[in-house]
Assembly symmetry: C2
DNA sequence: TGACTTATATGTACTATGCATATATGCTTG
DNA sequence: CAAGCATATATGCATAGTACATATAAGTCA
């Protein structure tokens, strides 16, 4: 260990340090999860946020989150937040990235594991109307000021088009969600998570276009999806559309499985 | 700091809970970083691990890691580990995933943010010989028992081909590294990180084939790389190869930038 | 019934890729 | 020093995927 380190504990051998480690003698950071609940509505990406009612960053908008309890996994903590703040369960939820700048929360050191969740807009609206589990949360529109997978923070605007201030580093978290969605879209079946069980190809294409922030070629999109065997036709047609109705499809999960923690 | 909480705090409103939150009254998990230092050598993926000398999982092999200090970022903690355990700095280092199963460490709750680092095998060998910063760490070979991006844990074997036992959930961490590398390889310039500054196309192809675990078409690989403008010819040729020498190229960083925390 | 709108199908040019073949070049060996 | 060797580099061609254009089908609505 040639590196000169500050006065910190005299660690000459890290293995010995780990063995002698006493949870009570060393300051621990707080650990939280923040969840970005994403949906697509009216050609826009939308996320659930709430204005802060207390001290740091009062009035600025922040993501639903919670500290991680000692007896739950990170995934369980994120599911708990999702259930408490949005009344949602059983939906797509995946770890995004862990944010840990020492000064990201002025009160104390808080490391947060960010998650993102995807849900059909209609289902979210139904649930939100049924119970008031939202606790002040609102769906706001995401404005992405960059193209492709360049990355960077995003802005949020309310339904009147006014820009809203964001708390902590939540603009970065939202930006990374968009970057991740754009990157995963063409190799992972995530578009389906934002639609009802049955949907038309046009609806799926609009989901993709909204996420990517650009238009797609209709024929190529059709052929690619139909050839992918990710979707199967139901034989049913959409109803009450004022023109020739399109066939309804449903998602057919691929055979290969993911494996994580 | 009490370990077991009496009754869970009466959380009816999460905002109020956050405001009333006192860092000292609530048990915090320990937070660590683990670093997977990856290199490619002799057609195999290799990673730096060390046998544990103490209590839990004594004798099993584990990744270099450290607890996160209160005044450093997660990236800084990972860099510190890399410098202390491998004598490496200024190399590619990126966050992988955060592992937090409550029982992943039998001593206490430890949440670990896993990083992976990529380095040229020759550079690693040079540095390792120069200083003995390794502290018991050894390069072991990764055996990947799955194809493509299917995912799953991996095995490690020593230079004699013997399988070695892994500590904690480190088999999962290593597996996710391989999965991530395979996924990123064809859209992110990571192959170059495993080569010296100047390299031949053949060398780069061997890096890709080792990571992907399958052979690639030589001509397609050539054309795709040359068309990508990620590499520029140096005009120099490789030396002492016993056959016609190939031209040496160097990596030319693309204009677009990444943006993270 | 016919106009309208969108879905669905077909055709064509272009591009990327896999595969095969031909040529170039530094090194090795007799 | 010349011939052979091994690999690099270049070229040609068939195939697959995609962008773009056009044609046909099928519901709705006046």
């Amino acid at each position: 260990m040639t590196r000169n380190r500050p006065a910190q504990p005299p660690v000459t051998d890290e293995q010995a340090f780990l063995a002698a480690y006493d949870a009570a003698q060393f300051p621990h950071p707080s650990v939280a999860v923040d969840v970005v609940l994403v949906t697509v509505e009216g050609g826009s990406l939308r996320a659930l946020l709430a204005p802060r009612t207390n001290h740091p960053h009062r009035g600025r908008w922040s993501l639903p989150g919670s500290f991680v309890r000692m007896d739950e996994s990170l995934d369980q903590a994120a599911q708990r937040v999702l259930a408490a703040k949005a009344g949602q369960s059983g939906i797509f939820l995946e770890q995004l990235y862990t944010f840990g700048r020492p000064d990201r929360d002025p009160r104390t050191r808080v490391i947060t594991i960010a998650y993102y969740a995807l849900v059909d807009a209609r289902r979210l609206a139904r649930r939100e109307a049924g119970s008031q589990a939202d606790a002040g949360g609102k769906l706001v529109t995401l404005e992405v000021p960059w193209q492709g997978e360049h990355g960077g923070p995003v802005r949020i605007v309310d339904d009147a088009g006014r820009s809203l201030p964001l708390a902590f580093d939540h603009a970065d978290i939202l930006g990374l969600v968009v970057q991740r969605l754009r990157g995963k879209l063409d190799y992972a079946p995530i578009g389906f998570e934002l639609l009802p069980r049955q949907f038309t190809l046009r609806q799926l294409q609009e989901i993709h276009e909204t996420i990517l922030g650009r238009t797609l070629n209709k024929d190529s999109f059709r052929r690619r999806l139909l050839a992918s065997e990710l979707i199967v036709p139901t034989g049913k047609l959409e109803q009450d559309v004022g023109h020739r109705p399109a066939e309804l499809y449903r998602f057919h999960k691929p055979a290969r499985s993911k494996h994580h923690e």
